[in-house]
């Protein structure tokens, strides 16, 4: 069982993803935006972060820069799960992945709940 921080601004999607991940045996903290996510991580250190890039006021990338600036959070796997198509990133993806310590990019419309659950399982089983 892992502690997952789900950074998802849409309440309905957040509830659905949370139910699915809880059903898979994890504990889920939902944060609608960057500030709430930092507070949540501060309250209970997550084992993994699932991150939407399109947030209100601060982008998911902005959040990730701040998140990674805390040494104690530098090794926490972050999985991007976004409505922004990955294909738009092309060349820049390599820098983004390296810069922000992100190995996986999931495009929400094409990622089923079972795919999300199995990707989470894979990420959690990779040694830090």
């Amino acid at each position: 069982m892992a502690q997952i921080l789900l950074v998802e601004p849409d309440r309905l999607l957040a509830e659905t993803y949370s139910q699915a991940l809880t059903g898979a045996g994890h504990k889920v903290m939902i944060a609608p935006g960057a500030q709430a996510a930092i507070s949540a991580a501060d309250t209970a250190r997550p084992d993994l972060v699932i991150l939407e890039l399109q947030l209100v006021e601060h982008s998911g990338i902005e959040f990730l820069y701040e998140f990674r600036s805390y040494p104690e959070w530098q090794d926490i796997p972050v999985l991007i799960h976004s409505g922004v198509p990955a294909g738009e990133f092309t060349d820049s993806w390599q820098i983004m992945g390296q810069e922000l310590g992100v190995d996986v990019y999931l495009y929400k419309p094409r990622t089923s709940l079972s795919q999300l659950i199995s990707t989470v399982r894979d990420q959690l089983s990779v040694p830090a």
Binding site: S59, I61, P71, E72, F89, D91, S92, I95, M96, Q98
Partner: protein
């Protein structure tokens, strides 16, 4: 070992060991540097704040005989913090960094530093069209590499005319007169501005310039692919 002081723009950061990072920086006078930033990932590191992406910093470093020097100190001068707020702009920022990295050898001229700094300034300003920034950047890279198109005479060495239509000859990097040509005086004027010394902020003020970008983008991209990025 000599300590050198200069300015730097971070091109990439890679984690190394438990607490270190290897940085690639672009400088105006020392070319591209690869430096080890020791202990930078620890909480109290003095170096941490000065080596962000999308920023210009004062740095001092020791150059050893090997490939990688050691970062001694850094101080943030300007951080273009608005860029990371917009997914599209940060993505373009990464792409421009990558484009410049690929287009330059280890000892790029000072103009490349200025180019990247101007690009960050433009990206930081949300009212400047992203497509304009990208096209301007590609044009400037072409110019710095000595591959500017001929924007004054056609392939027959005749002066380009305001009432004529042209197609672009990529081998000759010049316009070829064609009655059904796709490019006209407006396009040529816009290209002259893109390939000039004007920064994006000034170009963004030019009436009608943005409207022509979609028609010019494929041509400039083709020039870029042919000459800078095979």
């Amino acid at each position: 070992m000599k300590q050198i002081i200069t300015k730097g723009i971070v091109l990439s950061r890679t984690d190394y060991g438990e607490a270190d990072r290897i940085l690639t920086l672009l400088t105006p006078d020392q070319g591209k540097l690869r430096l080890m930033a020791r202990g930078v990932r620890r909480a109290k590191s003095k170096l941490a704040g000065g080596i962000e992406l999308f920023s210009v910093s004062d740095i001092s470093y020791m150059q050893s005989r090997g490939e990688i020097g050691t970062l001694v100190s850094s101080r943030l001068i300007t951080h273009y913090g608005t860029i990371v707020k917009d997914i599209g702009r940060v993505q373009l920022g990464y792409e421009l960094i990558k484009m410049l990295n690929r287009a330059t050898e280890d000892q790029p001229e000072p103009e490349y530093f200025e180019l990247l700094q101007q690009a960050f300034e433009a990206l930081d300003e949300t009212t400047i069209d992203q497509d304009l920034i990208r096209l301007w950047f590609e044009s400037r890279l072409l110019r710095l590499a000595g591959h500017s198109p001929n924007l004054h005479t056609d392939i027959n060495d005749e002066k380009l005319r305001a009432d004529a239509a042209y197609d672009f000859d990529f081998d000759a990097m010049a316009f070829s007169p064609r009655p059904e040509g796709h490019f006209n005086a407006g396009h040529i004027k816009t290209l002259r501005l893109l390939f000039s010394h004007h920064p994006p902020r000034a170009l963004a003020q030019v009436d009608g310039l943005t409207a022509l970008l979609p028609e010019l983008a494929p041509a400039v991209r083709a020039m870029f692919t042919a000459h800078i990025r095979p």
